[in-house]
């Protein structure tokens, strides 16, 4: 199941978002402080993290930077009532956020942004998986190649097939 993490110091925001996102069939974990949210990152593999910007102690962008280190694949979104230029620049340059959304929001905007983040996350995951498949298959091929080379070294010509001018296979010690 796709897991979404929400971080906001305002409990009523978290409840409103949960109402909205659970209806989409996502599993939603809500945290009203950064410490618990950091703990949550260790325990769960989130596809998307949505964080407030202005919070006591640590701001949302700093939190998302931590999140980026712990869960580099999780897509990071900011949802804030404080959209000034400075915070937007910080969010993009430092936390590499996928979307910067503002409060008050339209439900469909949030859902569409998360939906598209989830798709991208799955794409990245799929990419990792395919890369791994390629790597294992490459390793297998390499092992075979080595075996062939070893045989060739031991019995020169054994890996070659000899044919005469009409295409028939020649079997014999001397070619």
């Amino acid at each position: 199941m796709i897991k979404i993490q929400l971080v906001d110091d305002e409990p009523n925001i978290l409840k409103a978002l949960k109402r909205l996102l659970k209806a989409q069939g996502w599993e939603v974990d809500a945290y009203d402080n950064v410490d618990d949210a950091l703990g949550g990152l260790l325990a769960h593999d989130y596809a998307v993290i949505v964080s407030d910007y202005l919070m006591p102690a640590v701001d949302g962008v700093t939190y998302l930077q931590f999140a980026k280190q712990r869960r580099p694949d999780a897509m990071r979104l900011v949802l804030t009532a404080h959209g000034d230029r400075q915070s937007v620049i910080k969010a993009i340059n430092q936390a590499e956020v996928y979307r910067y959304l503002t409060k008050p929001w339209n439900d469909y905007e949030i859902v569409a942004a998360i939906q598209s983040a989830v798709e991208l996350h799955q794409l990245v995951r799929e990419n990792h998986r395919l890369l791994q498949t390629v790597a294992t298959q490459k390793a297998m091929l390499q092992a075979r190649e080595q075996e062939l080379q070893r045989l060739e070294a031991e019995h020169p010509g054994i890996t070659q097939v000899l044919r005469d001018t009409e295409g028939s296979i020649l079997v014999g010690d001397d070619s």
Partner: protein, 289 residues
């Protein structure tokens, strides 16, 4: 802000004291007004944040309510058309009626709380700005401090814990909106001086014919070379464009107009304390207009 020249039409004759004084008075009033506007401008950003949060979840809740109602109406419509009780039960199950019922109550309660918060913010903002009759009246200093605190709360709450240490104060004859502005200035300065998270203490006490208001912070303090200049007009250590350098100088003139005093003590690295001493008694000697 208007086209009034500040320096150019000073009367030539130095003997013309009244004209000079009048002009000084007028410029002073303009400064006071523009500093007030600047303060309100800075507040606006903070207030927007404070309002956008409740509006955000109330608005979202309304959209959720919209979806819930669709389900509820499906059920109520089915009462007439369903042939069996089981059919109704099934529908009830499929829309998760029990959850809807419980969540609807929460949704309405939370939304009401949000709207009430917006209402409170607007009311305090009105209290803060509207009470600007330029007249001395008996006023409750604590009410003024509390109003100012709730107006600037959003700027402070991420920087400092505010500790209120209030004594028993009598009503004080003052222009409360101007005293509020002084308090606002001191609180904003205190918050700006704090790096990381600190503490701001607002202390009041009553002493014979005076009330004493302290605004103390655990900020970075004011250096020895700067402390004598803090009340000078246009003195600021902030980068160009961030501070007008007028906050404290206007605070000084407001307090002076009230026949009071404002002092500062500071230890670099430890914090700063501004002290306002206001006479309680009626005073109209320093009336503005």
């Amino acid at each position: 802000m208007s086209g009034d020249p500040i320096m150019t039409d000073v009367p030539n004759s130095p003997a013309d004291d009244t004209a000079l004084n009048e002009q000084l008075e007028r410029v002073n009033r303009q400064l006071l007004q523009s500093e007030k506007m600047a303060a309100i401008g800075q507040l606006a950003a903070g207030v927007a944040h404070e309002i956008n949060n409740p509006i955000g979840y109330v608005y979202s809740n309304l959209q959720s309510l919209d979806r819930y109602l669709v389900d509820m109406f499906r059920l109520t419509d089915a009462i007439g058309s369903a042939s069996t009780q089981e059919e109704l039960e099934e529908l009830k199950q499929s829309i998760d009626y029990e959850f809807l019922r419980g969540d609807l109550e929460d949704l309405v309660a939370e939304s009401r709380e949000g709207i009430e918060r917006v209402k409170t913010i607007i009311t305090t903002l009105m209290d803060f700005t509207h009470a600007d009759e330029e007249e001395f009246k008996l006023a409750d200093i604590h009410w003024g401090i509390n109003t100012t605190l709730s107006v600037i709360n959003n700027e402070i709450k991420y920087k400092a814990e505010v500790v209120k240490d209030f004594g028993d104060l009598p009503l004080v004859s003052c222009i409360i909106s101007q005293i509020n502005q002084v308090i606002l200035n001191l609180l904003a300065n205190a918050a700006h001086s704090i790096e990381g998270f600190g503490k701001i203490i607002v202390r009041t006490r009553h002493e014979s014919n005076y009330v004493v208001i302290d605004v103390e912070d655990t900020g970075k303090g004011i250096s020895q070379e700067h402390i004598n200049k803090v009340f000078d007009p246009f003195f600021t250590t902030k980068p160009i464009g961030e501070g007008t350098g007028l906050g404290l100088s206007l605070s000084f003139s407001i307090v002076e107009k009230h026949n009071g005093r404002i002092d500062v003590t500071s230890t670099p690295g430890k914090g700063t304390c501004f002290r306002i001493i206001l006479p309680i008694g009626t005073s109209d000697t320093g009336r503005c207009s």
